[in-house]
Amino acid sequence: MKIALAGNPNSGKTTLFNALTGKIEHVGNWAGVTIEKKEGAVKKALNRSDRTVTIVDLPGAYSMSPYTSEESITRDFVKNEKPDVIINIVDATNLSRSLFFTTQLLNLDIPVVIALNKSDMTKKKKNSIEVEQLSKLLCCPVVETISIKEDNNGLQKLIATAIIVDGKSQAAPYKGEVENLTDVKSVEKSDVARFAFIKELVAKVEMKSVKSNAQTGQDALDRFVANKWLGIPIFAAVMWGVFSLSQTHVGPFFADLLVGWIDGFYGLVEGAMGSDISPVLSSLLLDGIIGGVGAVVGFLPLIMVLFFLLALLEDCGYMARVALVMDRYFKKVGLSGKSIIPMVIGTGCAIPGVMATRTIKNERQRRTTAMLTPFMPCGAKLPVIALFAGVFFNDAAWVGTTMYFLAIAIIIAGAFIIVHITGEKNARSFFIMELPEYRMPSFKRAAVSMMSRAKAFIIKAGTIILLCNAAVQLMQTFNWQFKVVAEGAESSSILASIASPFAFLLIPLGFGVWQLAAAAITGFIAKENVVGTLAVVYSITNFIDTEELALVAGGSDVAAVMRLTSAAALSYLVFNLFTPPCFAAIGAMNAEMENKKWLWAGIGFQFGMGYVISFLTYQIGTLITTGKFGQGFIYGFIAVALMIAYVTSLVIKGNKKAVMKLNLSVKVT
């Protein structure tokens, strides 16, 4: 039997889905986290019958007449695919709005069970709901649930009730007859009457001690964290705190332990192989596979701590306020605060981030957001950030924080350019977003989210990263005649000859050597590869404990091995973060943009942006530290100037279009 979970956004559907099925789908304390339907079987412990019960989690919807595309998924599913039972999740703290959708669901003649969720919150607010009365008035069973609680949460009863009502018919408490469905006025009249019916019903079952429009401590907190002047500094402080804990304090502590084990394993394998094994095979296994993968996995603790903290932030409701703070700046460049949500999700992985752009109605805004979301440093880019922060900047938390804010700045600049190129700088759109209530973040949920990301990271390291590192090691070992490259002739290897032409283009950015170019190229398969490839090409296995390496390598350290100045290192980091994302994310961009022209323009824009920012970082950095410009300044300057000139010409063309549009609209008015 198939049960659909339907309800308003942020009523806790996915949390309930996870609790019912034992899955770990992404949840967040804001509206619009789920954008696609998801299926799972109910856990044995909750299902006392011998039937298999499948649960379908649907995106949140406010009504059966959809506004956003993910709302249509919900409407289409319950209307066309006819689930056996609908579990309607109703946010107990917002009955009067939630029941609008409920009464619409009750008209479908599919048995409905109401899960009155967040029922603990009503008590906390000193409100009370007469559940039996509500059930009688709505002609369907109502079960109180607390989906975030471990036990005594009403879930077993919910499933049992759903199984009982299966196959029965459903009476509609409010018929909502519309005289003429094609007439807008007549539909509206019926809907107004529906709301009136609900108002009357809620008055009968709900006792409120505090009016909901009274000021609360939460509102005061909003005025503080979303303050006109303090909003951005508070966000910066929060992000700095997150990086400081994950990269400077807690993360490295665990990373040291892990890297110790990896080194131990390396030694063990080396010992087990003995000395009579072929040197090619031994270096493939040791330096290529164990060294490369180990270098990436070494950053796992840092990433886990970071994801744990980000999950706490998402869970407490702060991220919705960040969207509110950013709306002001985003609006000036033709986007809205809505674009923030894909970007926040993009800090985990750009693919779901790009997919989340679906919640944006305006086509240009959606495509622009899909193009710019991959600039956010995702989980795969974190090892790269951590590596450079650790090796060149003494684990400073400012490196990561700066990269996040640089990403936001690039996104705003990018959106500004795009809105001018498309000639829509005069277009307006509205921004409305539900503000979820703050709550104590759950350490357990954060831990679950962290573990699922860690698992994905390890799987990736053991598959794609491992294969890439092995390939890089082989390409580095052999030349085109498939002979082992002689010592001192490393630049004749297959890898070096492929990467060298690219390296030439990177000279003005401060890192025109084939090793670094190769690492950047493998980064397009997966960004973690940058770390893995660097480990392979420079034969460094331990990026975490750099002091130890200094002893092993006889006085030199990682920075010296890579022969990069601080300015060039920062430039290389910037280049890897802000050029196009991995191929998988580009695939997601293609799917959401639904337009090849936008896709190629997007990739071109990302390359150009990465090149320009990286050029500026290296040349200005070098000018400050040494007093003169770095290598290849003239050539780089010409390239950057050409790129800027081309974009400027597009902007001028776009502005002409905008003037035409404005004239047209004046005529219409």
């Binding site: 406010y62 009504s63 007449s65 506004y67 703290t93 917002n94 009955l95 009067s96 709005r97 609008f100 959708f101 807008v184 509206e188 809907d191 107004v192 709301f195 909901s212 429009n213 000021q215 509102d219 909003d222 005025r223 979303a226 303050n227 006109k228 909003g231 509110l324 703070v325 709306d327 002001r328 609006k331 809205s336 605060g337 109605k361 305006n362 086509e363 240009r364 829509e424 005069n426 277009a427 307006r428 759109s429 509205f430 921004f431 409305i432 977003m433 539900e434 503000l435 209530e437 549009k661 404005l662 609209s665 004046v666 219409v668 008015t669």
Partner: protein
Amino acid sequence: MNAALIGINKRKELLLHIDKVGEPLSMVSDLSNADINKEYLIKDIQSVDEELKNFLFSLGCFKGESITIISVLAEIFVISVKDARYSIDADLARAILV
């Protein structure tokens, strides 16, 4: 609803505001110049964007319903409709007549 049409609407609104200056007596009262912490009844939603109107409707934000401004943060209005809090921008606040 495409952005260009909203653009037109915006211009209409601009014209309305010009009218206001010339003719203070016919001033339209919308949410953007309403008082904080005061319960208002919505008189109308003024927008050519029918989908947006429908969406606001499904939130319980339509003619005859009550609405309260909780705070004004920079250019964002935090409003209370039914039992929920929403953040809306100034453009949308101007579209809600009270």
